[in-house]
Symmetry: C4
Subunit: 227 residues, 4 copies
């Protein structure tokens, strides 16, 4: 996947780094597959709101289903944001080790599991008792995804997986500080508030997904350029 | 994914471009995954028309189900055409930025969502009131996919993502002018006519899918060669 | 996907061939995705034969379901064989054109559709009238897949997509002659006999899948080596 | 997928090795796809434990469903471990032949099939008679996956697919001796004990999945470093 030939300076490198680079490529390919499938399977959880033959109620049925679309949207944007964070992290590191591969597998475990709490959340929208459980359960899975990203970054740092590129490590630290850590705290707050008011919890999850997905630096740059 | 070594002149390029090229490769891998899954999930929406044990009615049941196959075919060809347009666009641009990645995510959102309106459209075929809603809803999603392709191309142009390759930018402009813009207008017309006659709307969507999928230049070339 | 750097001689090639090679790579990535998903979705069509709580009948229920496993196996091996033929063909050609991309899309259309006739075939096993329709319908889709592989090879040949490599073109012709054409004829015969005896048709499809999947040259080589 | 340009020494290699390397890359891409999809489809087998409108029973329903999550977890970790073993094996070998491709297809067949026995196992948890059948059936599929990995390694060795790299072959032998063979034996023991006590069989499968997924060398290294 990686355009290795483009790294002019790596032409002379030893066989071993090439091998670990290869493993990094397969880790990316496998992870991209799981992210892409999990994000696309979400649509299977959406049920048609009215029975066959009740066509005249289809429009109101579809409009009435907005919590389902909202859950779909939050899950889609969260997996998308996690994919982008994952992409940045793996891009930044120089090589991977066996522990990193397993931590990655645990991240994918929660990611592939997300369609299930999504389905529960859209199924129990409006049912106060059920909604409370659904929102906390859903938030826990979102929390675990962010947590695994943090753990993977920590491990990469402590094991020197970033190689000699200090710039990469610095960027990763900035991402942790300005995106992942605030996200993590917001999930805990969102889940706790979700116990009191499920609706509020959902709104918080939505805001986190949008926040994680915003490319702050690019937006600032575009804004400055046009100002 | 990209055979970087084959770009002889890029051997000497700096580290930063190689990094963004890498991100472009993962964007392609992830998008290819979502397109491939969405296009393959469509088949899960097709139900067997008769019950177990009613085998003698299977043939007539299958033949009677033609709107389902038609919806499958339109969705398949539309996602296929969008994949080809996406492939051409990403191929043409030199590097991507964070905004492009997010616009791409929104395109994938509508693409991954398409199996749902497809299922509704085949479920309510023949039910006039339902068909009207289904055809407009379906057309809206198709419209959004084309629109996102246009927005992505516009952004690439205004941010200079095409790099120095004027040929690439020219081709992209031609594609916008001769394929995407007419497609966009046709979706609006098709949706509006679908309000009056759902059947007509479906025929228009079918024609757009076929039109978007035709490789005009290649067909002309083949035709000339044989003439 | 292609280790382009390994083609020493291509270092100096012009920009345009690199671009078409890139498109070939994305065509492979997208097709691999569709093949992999279609082959994996087949398992969703298998239903658990007995109800919850009837555990003592589970073993006999599973054993009784053998036509379902057989249909799964035939579909799996056929998609697998088509993937291998596709892999050989695309590997052999030098570059692709727009028509080849569309023909490929039609091949994928039938491939992604296969889980549906597979489900019908396992649903109506034992129901004579239904089985007849199911076997012919299933055979038609298998036939179309082989036909599209032939058409793609024909197009590649007539448009000079194999480049200058005569060896590649010769191998492709051998494959057409010894694998695809016999397979095509066997599908027609199998479908026709399936009208008389569905069971016979299924056996023929099974034999074709196994035949297409046998790597004749490698087996001969292994045999000679050990003899 | 492989960063071929990074292998400095391969620049001068002949055309034929490049071709087989290309086939190895597509085998990896296709296999990664199937592994990623099978591992992600598992979530579709999890049903929501309570009906709509019974929200107050949702929490106890979810907690009561632990065998379902356990089956999900075992299947996820087993496919993940098989993916990692597959990744190491294919990484180690130098080129592939036609027989290796077909053996790989059979491995994927069992891997793609796994969601079905997983669903059966979680469906019949608690039903003693059904559980017994489910645990043995599930164990058989896990056993076949490990067996195919062994057969693929054996074939690679006897056909000289490892090339001249003795280090690669030595590592593969160590993996067979310390991971795959013990795993194989443990599956047979687990299945046999599962006939007596299904619960015990499940625990053994869980332990094997965890054992296969542990990167023994890396863990030892980390441990030494911190000691």
């Amino acid at each position: 996947m990686e355009p290795a030939g483009a790294h002019g300076g790596e032409m002379a490198e030893q066989k071993k780094p090439a091998k670990t680079k290869h493993r990094k490529n397969r880790l990316e390919a496998f992870s991209d597959g799981v992210f892409a499938i999990a994000i696309t399977l979400l649509v299977l959880e959406i049920a048609i709101p009215v029975e066959k033959g009740e066509g005249e109620r289809l429009l109101s049925g579809l409009l009435h289903e907005w919590p389902v679309y909202l859950a779909y949207f939050i899950s889609f944007m969260t997996i998308g944001a996690v994919w982008m964070e994952h992409s940045s992290l793996v891009d930044a590191i120089d090589h991977i080790d066996g522990v990193f591969m397993r931590l990655n597998l645990v991240l994918l475990l929660f990611c592939a599991f997300l369609p299930f709490p999504t389905r529960i959340m859209s199924e129990f929208a409006g049912d106060v008792a059920g909604e409370r459980v659904a929102v906390v359960f859903y938030g826990l899975v979102l929390l675990m995804m962010t947590l695994m990203l943090l753990v993977m970054g920590r491990h990469a740092e402590s094991e020197g997986l970033f190689g000699d590129d200090l710039e990469d490590e610095r960027k990763e630290k900035a991402r942790v500080k300005y995106q992942l850590l605030p996200g993590l705290i917001a999930y805990i707050v969102g889940g706790a508030l979700g116990l009191l008011s499920p609706k509020l919890g959902i709104v918080i999850y939505l805001l986190i997904a949008i926040y994680l997905a915003i490319p702050i630096r690019d937006v600032t740059r575009l804004y400055r350029k046009r100002a």
